[in-house]
Subunit: 113 residues, 2 copies
DNA sequence: TTTCTGTATTGACAAACGTCAATACATCGA
DNA sequence: TCGATGTATTGACGTTTGTCAATACAGAAA
């Protein structure tokens, strides 16, 4: 069976909140983006990724510094991945995650003056 | 009994996620900030405030456009107010809310490249 | 004072969330 | 093949969240 790949048809990008009133649909989308940032564990994951010289971090290397169980880390990585903030790539037994700075800039742009 | 005013001793400001690994305390604080943005009703409140020529909007003027009950609007305004994103000022029977663009810029700054 | 209007709070409820133990899945080495 | 290791998923649990009806509070007008 062919692997399914989710394709996002709209850009989910964001004109700044501050420039025009948003309708409910845009607000829902943007709220999903900020929801991904609304958890301390996820923020630290992003921070660790940003600070990584290699630009990618193995799942196993999140567990100890974040003091959470492996399923919990995996859960948060999925949320970040679904929101487009990180991408995971399997290499042999390990999965390496990297930060999507473009997506992060989109969310920052939603707060632009 | 004198009215209690909560004073925030730290600045709750935010070095960018992207520049140094965050400890758990900083991550908690920042996550609270983004939690305030993680709801479509609250994003629309901010958007309406930003778009208001007078720079302030009466509570009563949120109810119709957002299609939520008055207690729900009040609830969201409290969350935004607690997180420092808006400020309310009572003038006779009405309470006028305004956007704190400095606080919004702090959160934007946490996502700076 | 009483009454009316605008706002905040309370209480209840369902839904969503964060967490972990147990388990399933994927990959490699023996 | 089998066993070991890294990751994802499932299921369960308590907590938090968003919502509204009812109510309380604040201010103005009669």
């Amino acid at each position: 069976m062919p692997k399914m790949i989710e394709v996002r048809s709209d850009d989910q990008c964001c004109a700044s909140i501050l420039r025009a009133p948003m309708d409910g649909v845009d607000a829902e989308k943007l709220a999903l983006g900020f929801s991904a940032l609304a958890d301390p564990v996820r923020l630290r994951i992003l921070s660790i990724l940003a600070d990584s010289p290699a630009g990618e971090v193995c799942v196993c290397d999140f567990v100890l510094p974040l003091e959470k169980s492996q399923p919990t880390i995996s859960h948060h990585l999925k949320i970040l991945s679904d929101s487009g903030l990180v991408h995971g790539e399997r290499r042999s037994k390990w999965v390496w995650y990297s930060l999507d700075r473009t997506r992060l800039a989109q969310l920052r742009g939603a707060l632009d003056a």
